[in-house]
Amino acid sequence: MPKNRVADLLAGRAPRSGHHPWPRYEIDAAGWDAVGQGLAAGVTLLGFWGDVGAVHAALMAPELGGPCIVSLAVRAGTFPSLGRHHPPAIRPERAICDLYGFVASDAPDARPWLDHGAWGLRAPLGSRTSAAPRDPVDYDFRPVHGHGLHQIPVGPVHAGIIEPGHFRFTANGETVARLEARLGYVHKGIDGLLTDCDLERAARIAARVSGDVTVAASFAFARAVEAALGAEVPARAQALRGVMAELERIANHLGDIGAICNDAAFALLHAHTGILRERVLAASDRAFGHRLMMDQIVPGGIARDLDGEGARAILATLDAIAPRFAEIVEEYDETPSLQDRTCTTGIVAPALVAAWGAGGHVGRASGRDFDARRDLPYSPYADMAFKIPVLAAGDVDARVRVRIAEIEVSMVLIRIWLDDLPGGPVRHALPQVAEAREGVAVTEAFRGDLLVWLRVAGARVARCHVRDASVFQWPLLEAAIEKNIVADFPLCNKSFNCSYSGHDL
């Protein structure tokens, strides 16, 4: 069995020292190929990124015990493609090629992805050679053949207040035959900025990978640093990190539920969820000094303590919004004209979310029972028992209902932590470690699992890669919209709510 080949490959092998908490194995090209086959047979790809002279893949499978990272040294600028075995690896491979110049040999798709020909550079994190600019429009969309087909290009500048990306629809009348997304417009070179960067600045950059998951990204970044350095985090800070992460989840889910209803022309619920979201942000501001709680989670703890007034503001807000939210849910349940739009729209097959390892509401609405808070447990969730909603329908409605259930769970968790908040400090100094160490962490952001891997040396980040949940969700949007009508695209897109910035890095 190919699955067992990965387990066999790694069994008895010594991981590289100084990498925490998961093992990292350096393997050869034959092993790498076995990994590709293992991915095709059900191992989950948690992340796939480049480094100086190497590529790394984070893997997860029950037979591997816990998650691990496998690394391959790149020889003569190439490495065997994982994408030819496992399609979810295709876009990361294209990104690695654009950024590092490493070519995935036998890759099924060799088109540039993040490189739109505008940097004046080829392989900015690799050979860094100068390159002539290309016309940004010059991109080979996959051809679609058939009678009566027409194309609708949308973006990069969209009609709403949203991030930029290009969607190329091929439609037959109203029905979408194929959607192909082209992303990379908001690529800011974050892997490059996080190369040899002092720790404080790196934390601020990690917090701005995608603004809507700023808490989750800072949380993962801090945990990765702490894992690498063996740092302790005070109990009070751990509980408050949980409070912030769940406030972020509630605020985003409220915004999404409203926006989905709005895209189905049911503005009333959008107006009401908008008010509730605003109250959550105002309480977050009062409690932590920033509406989005940006830069509040830092390596070693949190940036500022919560006072009694802040805690009361959060609890009072939860008390105030809980009954209002219940009414909104009831309204959603009792409006058939709204459900007519959301039910059976934008279905993603369970096999696809399993293959892509799609997390968050995208995965859980299509039967993938995974939540990093439970399955890759970390403080303050490790000792908590809480319900993780998993549905089977895989449509827009299921993604709405997963969010609804998660808001309810988040409110319970916040109350538990605030009712029994440990005393003491909220930040410890980081231990001084001279040699290079590596750390990895996954947090469950509102949209799904977010991975941060890094190498620290002294007080500096040598390398760091952030992988947002969107990376493995975007391709499934193309599957979700197939055979749906063009007019339902906003609904499908909002029900995913993938991050452009978090994907493009």
Partner: protein
């Protein structure tokens, strides 16, 4: 639905109104904005938001302007889907190289007279993304900017205040043009 709808219709508005101390700024801001907007544009100005490379934090707060609490439309300010229909481009993010052409074309597609607001620390100065091979930098490196609104991200109230300042600048400009 009837219950929620009726209560929404006849209940107290969620929109922040007058005079508790903290809310005062918003009311003042709103009134001043209303006067200026009327003078210059009759009753309304229309904004097209362009994300030129933002982390999406600014988008969240620009969105909030439209919620029932800030309700920016009561001042005659609305967001349009097309640059052809707008008076103001509200640009966020450090301009990425990959968005530069799109931003230039959006600016070119906006009919004059037009104003550009750079919203957020990245749009104003490049923010934490300074020094990257992938970003051009602040918005005013690509298109002329009439007003900078700082913040990471700027709060909705700061965005509102900024729009007033723009009105003042635009009115002054209109007098002399």
């Amino acid at each position: 639905m009837r219950t929620l709808l009726l209560r929404t219709l006849f209940g107290a508005p969620a929109t922040i109104a007058a005079p508790s101390a903290a809310d005062l700024a918003l009311t003042e801001t709103g009134r001043a904005l209303e006067e200026r907007a009327r003078k210059l544009f009759g009753r309304a100005i229309t904004i097209r938001e362009v994300d030129a490379g933002s982390c999406n934090g600014c988008e969240l707060e620009v969105h909030a302007l439209n919620n029932a609490v800030y309700d920016v439309e009561r001042f005659g300010i609305r967001f349009a889907a097309s640059p052809r229909h707008c008076d103001v481009l509200l640009v966020t993010g450090p301009v990425s190289h990959n968005m530069k052409v799109a931003l230039e074309r959006t600016y070119a597609a906006t009919p004059a007279p037009k104003w550009v607001v750079a919203a957020g620390d990245c749009a104003c100065g490049c923010g934490v993304f300074e020094g990257s091979y992938a970003v051009v930098g602040a918005v005013d490196k690509v298109i002329p900017v009439d007003l900078h609104i700082k913040g990471c991200p700027p709060r909705p109230i700061d965005l509102l205040r900024g729009l007033i300042a723009l009105m003042e600048k635009a009115t002054a400009g209109a007098d002399t043009r």
